[in-house]
Symmetry: D2
Subunit: 335 residues, 4 copies
């Protein structure tokens, strides 16, 4: 049995995390924190009624260290890099769901997030928690940087083809569509029902922070400098990401070769399904699966991947990382 | 040509109003005000690009009086009763879309809105702008209290049957379902896309402010004290109200009698359609129509009415009132 | 380990059932049938890729009897009463999700379903599978009539208050709102996305087949003849039912008394949550919970209940019944 | 006053067309046809109650010729090319909303539509009804090929940049997202609410019939052979198309140059708005506008365009063509 704390437990990701962890036979949630809320968990998350009998607390890292073995940090970026060193000092293992430990270069972090990184020495050494690529390095870690949702979708689609040298590492276009939950639970006008419903739009064209994250991880995993153009879109649905990715083939090979490479790469990975049909986000909604397929058209390879941004894109992969760290079977609570 | 100003022009109702007025051949929009915004109208309402070349201004009533002949006041309640007397004093005709001039009794206002009414003498004398009931009193008025959206739906469904004595005036149950736009454009957590989407819920059970408004108008128009139980529901759609209303018949008459009474009552009213089928809110979306039908089941008369809360429930009826005040044909810009 | 077959496995209910059963540690799905489909389960349900490696077959009851211990029958009504006697004869335990064994009177069945019941002797004796009311009679049964979705919502809200004599058994008004999945997966024009989206409407006013089912079960469980007016509404969301129920109190008691009675009645029932806040269907989406609360307004008791029509209203309660029949803990695979 | 008939009037496009034409001061709708329906228009389109008092008829071209001056043909492809020659022979001017007269090469038609074209001589000479490009050729025509919805979006975004030689004509990637109404009103399983809602997916990758149409028109208008990769996506909303288009610049020029070229090109076109912000489909919903903007990222020009597929993508542009043919002001009934 592992005692688990959740720091920053009022958001959608934390809710999803609690839902999953409550099905985990080896987990006991022992603390949930919030800077602003003090009520029972159901005052913010009524869906957890009779599931979790805890109230939000404002706990120090030290107190969390006494209460729990592992802490899922769901704070926003910047807040996270202030908290994580303290949590580690308090003896906790930490899975950080913010962006603060994903980039390996403090300069790149500062450029994209507009803040000097205050814990730069951990940047290079923190493992990027995408188990399909780095699963063998995760057990035994004390800190895991949980990946971004767009990032995971894009990397899972591209890494096998890049590693095999089947597509060019440059000029890749990632046109990604996400449900609204990815934007969080803050009361902003642009996230109101009547703003998002019945509307799709691009945002952050060329400026979204998942772009350098995608490039960094694909570059590291393939050994070639990867550059991508990344365009996210806000789509009128709660959850789901679909990435439609356009790449140039290195050689003229039949379409089946790409599918085969993907199939082989993920043959023993429980949460990536290489499929022949065009995946819908609904196929993977409320699951930890990422569905991937590939098509060719004229001189392009088109890779299409779908996952649930709240689960495989956030809380589910966090539990997958947790399982690996704690030596539980990787799929526990995730099927 | 009538010069029109819109006070409080950043919200959804004001946007809808501008869309309608821009199709009105006898209207020129000359001013739009906001307490906080100063940019071009498209900075808040991009859908008006190349339609309206005005910027938000913070104008006094006096300045508005120089710019316009008629002012649509889209301020929230309380703010409205501070502004309206000044607008009238500046020589403007005013159509007030807030609740401030709908109730005729200052005590009832204070009880339901929690504020002392600061312009109580106008309460008794202001005409309630539901043209299907009070259309003959509207021409020549200087101030019109534009009705609430739930209120209009409920009154249009019930008034003809109450007036004819076909249903009991007490014990009426109004179960109403509204799209999210009725709640406005303020950034509140409970109005976020991910809170409203894929969810329906009741709110304000027994405490919604449209309840006394419904009772007042139905009592006044039928001559009997009407009391209702009113339950609003937040429905995952942008716009539309459906009211399902349960009343007790006064006599045992065939179902067709109710439909006939409704049909006769609205025979010469251009915006109420008495239909035989069960209306969907989509049938009236983006129109100024209210569709009504009636069924009987066991010992109950069930009246069902649908309208677009943003149009027939707010901006459309406001323009209908405007047309009547200014002696334009009632349907101008509304078909 | 129990071997389970699903008859009529192409619909939404069957999909939901498979999703739940795949998480059940004591279940092995051994056969899925369809009259029309012959492909792999993923050809219809791509979300089950790598979860279930079965193809649709057209199996006789005898063949199913060799393959499985328990059969969930997801056929439409009429087809179900043809199949169930054969399944029982083949030695299977059967949980029937159709309406064919829910009503106890063949005459009432014929009146509402327009078909002579061909297995009338089982009608009186088949247990109605609502575990919160009839849980002690379910273990040991060979056939369970799984309840209707609107029915469960209504009964769970009303039964405790009727049993305690706190509300009048007649004149009850049930205004219910359902997501579209309740209407099934047949390609009908009125179920198209563009017909349902952004629209709410009543249907089957006074004629919906769940009305006699509600009355029968509430009458049986309370000992008084219960009559209700039932109005279903099609709501633009995938799943969820909200019932807003208006009843007359028998005595003038404080509102808290009703909540207390509900709380006491369901104190040891794992899947009904008596809450103080107004439940949203989203609170119970993708769960087997029914959330219930109560309000009073003027002379009415208003009971509000929410559940997921696909889970607590269909597949989840079916597994709950399965657990009781097979002596597994009631909550297995359902939390 | 022009008498107008609508052939194939049961679908969504025809409904939209009727809504617009009913606001047209110079139009009288005199006939609506259907092969299967015979009831009043409201039996299929209840939203037209009290707006249009016509019933569906099965009229020959000759009969239509007596009843009307202009016929909007809303038949599906193949049916359209059987009807159009007869309509023309009967003296009608025809605006054909199908794909049958859009492609100029009968061989290309056969390749993409799988049918031999039975009216091939008209293919080369029929004007493609995109007024922003071919507006000066439309007046006086007897037959107009109304453009496809994806096509118009893509062409309006690209044509000015291609004409100016600012982007390369090859390797263009069009990633387009459409609301569900574009798929029509036929009862197909994949168009059910519960299939489309809360889901986004690509379809017809590399095989969608609007691809050759886009290429043909852009090639003709720019004078260079244009080739595109076109990927449509089904998006959970009623209406709207967003095209995110990736092209390679021919020279290294500042981003503002592209926007300026677009702005200049459309300066006197009433229905294309070149904007600086990223357009949402909601900005143009229920309007005849197409909003376009442009961004640069790394070595790519990203053009983003949004329109309402039912209006500017179908019925609205059809009325725009009608206005030009009949010498009415181009914007009549469309603002």
């Amino acid at each position: 049995m592992t005692r688990v704390a959740i720091q920053g437990a009022t958001g959608y990701t934390a809710l999803e995390l609690m839902r999953i962890l409550l099905r985990h036979p080896e987990v006991k949630i022992t603390a949930i924190t919030s800077r602003s809320e003090r009520g029972h968990v159901t005052s913010v998350h009524p869906s957890l009624a009779e599931r979790l009998n805890l109230s939000f607390e404002n706990l120090s890292a030290e107190e969390l260290g006494k209460r729990a073995d592992v802490c899922f940090c769901c704070l926003p970026h910047v807040a996270s890099m202030e908290s994580v060193p303290q949590l580690l000092a308090a003896g906790l293992k930490v899975i950080d769901l913010s962006a603060d430990y994903r980039l390996s270069d403090p300069g790149v972090y500062e450029q994209w997030y507009g803040h000097v990184h205050t814990d730069p020495t951990r940047l290079g050494s923190t493992i990027y928690g995408l188990p399909e690529l780095f699963g063998d390095q995760i057990p035994g870690q004390e800190l895991i940087a949980n990946p971004g949702c767009y990032t995971s979708t894009s990397i899972l689609a591209l890494a096998p083809l890049l590693k095999a040298g089947l597509i060019e590492p440059t000029g890749i276009i990632i046109d990604a569509k996400s449900g609204v939950s990815g934007a969080g639970r803050s009361p902003k006008t642009n996230l109101l029902y009547c703003e998002c419903n019945e509307s799709i739009s691009a945002y952050g064209v060329g400026t979204h922070r998942h772009q350098p994250e995608i490039e960094q991880v694909l570059t590291a995993s393939s050994g070639n400098t990867v550059d991508v153009i990344f365009t996210p879109h806000l789509t009128p649905m709660d959850r789901g990401i679909l990435a439609t990715i356009y790449a140039s083939p290195t050689n003229n090979v039949p379409a089946g070769v790409y599918l085969e490479q993907l199939g082989g790469f993920y043959a023993d990975k429980p949460f990536v399904r290489v499929v022949e049909h065009l995946p819908k986000t609904k196929d993977v909604a409320f699951t930890n699966y990422c569905d991937v397929t590939v098509r060719t058209s004229k001189d392009r390879v088109i890779v299409i991947a779908a996952l649930d941004n709240m689960i495989k894109g956030a809380a589910g992969v966090a539990v997958q990382n947790f399982n690996l760290i704690c030596n539980y079977p990787e799929t526990t609570a995730l099927l």
